[in-house]
């Protein structure tokens, strides 16, 4: 296999291109995805290779083109539709939530909808409350959507090919701050060696981004990169951290989480989505339900955006979105904490 270092944006575009060559039913629709190559580069170079019949710029009409993806998929095509920012779901959620996600079930399994809905997530660059959210928990909450959230270029390619070949709707969320764009700072760990050849990564298989003994950080997307930086810092202090990269939320690799926590006895869930009623609570609950099999050394800890919209001003945004220092501080304090004794 020949590998080169790619950015996540390049890896995603390469995956889409390879699947389009393999399967004439695959096509892409979205705003600014053709001439512009996608605002975040996920379809860069594809217009020149495949032409405007298969790489289709759309009007700013998300309800229409995302609904059309559902309709075209029902007819046997395999559309990829891009929702430019996940925050824009508000104008088209009915087509996603009540149709794309539910039609397979409501049809008793007779309707198949192989749609990949790509979308940009995440903040950290002062784009304020309407352009900075993650919201993957919202889509994971709805039965019927698979949810993919890669943290690096290698995973992004394999997960995209898997997503396109899946016969179900897949929400594919890429964080802007790891795409490797020439106009936005990013975590360089997200650009890595990617084989030229086609390959898949199965859904529901978390990755171990770093092995450790003392504490497990369960995380995803850009936060994996932050957790790795924190883990390196903590290693110098003698704290050995394991970082579990979920890669997909639906399906969720519960076994990988349980295995790691069984080994370390400490669990920190680090997330960039809202803290309340979401991913962090879900994983904490899964562990709580298994306390007959697991022994914890400290209480489970969660990091996420507290119950506020993402503020614009830099010091405010940096305060609400968990940073490397928040992760490291949480780990340090967990190492000092003890569980209450059973009566």
């Amino acid at each position: 296999m020949t590998a080169r270092k790619l950015t996540m944006a390049q890896a995603i575009a390469e995956a889409i291109g390879q699947e389009m060559e393999r399967d004439g039913r695959v096509f892409v629709m979205g705003e600014d995805i053709a001439k512009y190559g996608g605002i975040f580069g996920a379809t860069g170079g594809l217009l020149d290779r495949f032409g405007p019949e298969r790489i289709m710029d759309t009007p700013i009409s998300e309800t229409a083109f995302i609904g059309a993806a559902t309709g075209a998929a029902a007819e046997g095509l395999r559309p990829i539709a891009e929702l430019m920012f996940v925050d824009f779901f508000g104008v088209c959620m009915d087509q996603i939530y009540n149709h794309l996600a539910k039609n397979t079930y409501m049809s008793g399994g007779s309707v198949h909808l192989p749609v990949v809905l790509t979308t940009a997530i995440g903040g950290g660059y002062s784009d304020a409350a309407q352009h900075s959210q993650c919201l993957y928990s919202l889509f994971a909450h709805v039965p019927g959507l698979k949810v993919v959230v890669p943290s690096n270029a290698y995973d992004a390619k394999g997960l995209m090919i898997q997503a396109i070949r899946d016969d179900n709707p897949v929400m594919y969320c890429y964080h802007k701050g790891i795409m490797g764009l020439p106009w936005m700072a990013y975590y360089e760990g997200s650009s890595n060696d990617v084989p030229e050849e086609s390959y898949t990564i199965a859904f529901g298989q978390a990755g171990t981004a770093r092995s450790g003994r003392d504490l497990t950080i369960v995380t995803l997307s850009q936060m994996v990169q932050k957790a790795l930086v924190a883990a390196s810092e903590l290693e110098k202090e003698g704290i050995s951290v394991e970082v579990i990269d979920l890669r997909t939320l639906v399906p969720l690799d519960v076994d990988a989480i349980v295995r790691s926590v069984a080994k370390t006895g400490r669990l920190l869930i680090a997330d960039e989505d809202y803290l309340g009623f979401g991913l962090t609570g879900e994983i904490a609950a899964l562990i709580a339900e298994r306390l007959d099999q697991l022994t914890l050394q400290s209480p489970v800890r969660r990091l996420g955006v507290p119950g506020t919209p993402i503020p614009y001003s830099r010091p405010l945004e940096q305060a609400v979105i968990p940073q490397v220092r928040h992760i490291a501080d949480a780990c340090r304090s967990m190492m000092q904490q003890k569980l209450a004794r059973a009566a």
């Binding site: 104008v91 936005m184 506020t308 503020p311």
Partner: protein, 335 residues
């Protein structure tokens, strides 16, 4: 409808303020964003500098804002777009607090919480949103409130031609027509929805024709000219104020900058902006003022000096203001 001398001079000076503001912002925005003081390998870092995040500038689109707002009273409501500065300035939003907001400072309109796409000034009845098409429903609401409380106030929704392909546009026009709301829908047709030119996004040539689908007047202003906008908006606003219901106006206008600052504009023919700038609406209005004896070299340079001083003062105010305390992030989620 003819503008008064006072309105003519206000439109001219306000257009100059907008242009000076946007050109100043274009320069300030680049501070701290270019190599070598950013991550190695990057050409530009959107998240750095005193004004981080996206920046959408309205140079070239001044006639839409001033031609409409010249007719407005303090009590009238304006809802703008993700490209909001020209509307805010024309509606009378204070420049210093608006600029402080765009710098993310505590003295800003929203204490730094909103930023450039989310300016809120209830005192001057101005707001905007970063979501395409989102101006129209709340403008219907402001118009409904005026109607319910027996006021002769009007509400203006500004939006781009790309937004006319959103459901919110069609739903709002129908609602406003059905309820005869005192609302005016003003479409800025700058020909590009980010990178997609109108011929590739819109099935018809003139969005004003869509008014017919809702049984309301639709006016297409073919020239990027403040006086033409003034005439169209004047008629529409008078109709709304007197209970005659909503109007759809579209203005063929020009965007001199990219969709956002840093946009490589690969979708525009080279030299297009230079050509558009040949038809700059500011010298056009200046010529009309001179014809009427309202402007000469001395008054023009005095006006321009005033404009530069005002804009400079706003940026200085923003720079010397303090950032909010991090703990403030948790305030204002609820009233």
């Amino acid at each position: 409808m003819e503008p008064t001398q006072q309105q003519l001079l206000w439109m001219y000076e306000t257009m100059l303020v907008i242009r000076e503001y946007e050109e100043t912002m274009a320069k300030v925005y680049l501070e701290g964003k270019l190599p070598p003081r950013i991550q190695k390998g990057l050409a530009f870092d959107i998240g750095s500098g005193p004004v981080p995040g996206e920046m959408h500038l309205a140079a070239g689109q001044e006639p839409v804002a001033v031609g409409t707002c010249a007719h407005l009273r303090a009590e009238d409501t304006v809802v703008g777009t993700h490209r909001p500065h020209h509307f805010a300035i024309a509606k009378g939003v204070p420049l210093d607090r608006m600029t402080a907001e765009i710098f993310g400072k505590a003295a800003g309109l929203s204490r730094g919480k909103g930023g450039h796409m989310h300016l809120f000034d209830p005192e001057h009845k101005f707001s905007c949103s970063g979501i395409v098409g989102a101006s129209m429903p709340p403008a219907c609401g402001a118009a409904l409130a005026a109607k319910k409380t027996g006021k002769d106030w009007v509400a203006i929704a500004f939006f781009g031609e790309g937004a006319a392909n959103q459901g919110a546009f069609h739903e709002s026009l129908n609602l406003a027509a059905l309820w005869k709301l005192p609302a005016v829908f003003v479409c800025e047709d700058n020909k590009y929805a980010i990178s997609v030119d109108k011929a590739h996004s819109t099935a018809i040539r003139n969005n004003a024709e869509r008014a017919a689908a809702y049984g309301i007047p639709g006016i297409s202003v073919a020239t990027n000219d403040a006086l033409e906008v003034y005439a169209a908006a004047g008629e529409a606003i008078a109709r709304a104020r007197s209970g005659g219901g909503p109007t759809l106006i579209e203005v063929k206008t020009d965007r001199y900058f990219g969709h956002f600052q840093g946009d490589a504009e690969v979708y525009r023919p080279k030299g297009e902006v230079a050509e558009l700038r040949q038809h700059d609406p500011i010298p056009r209005l200046a010529a009309r003022l001179r014809e009427r004896g309202l402007l000469d070299d001395a008054t023009d340079s005095a006006t321009r000096a005033r404009v530069v001083a005002k804009v400079t003062q706003a940026f200085e105010f923003a720079r010397r203001s303090a950032y909010p305390e991090a703990s403030e992030a948790l305030h204002h989620v609820f009233a």
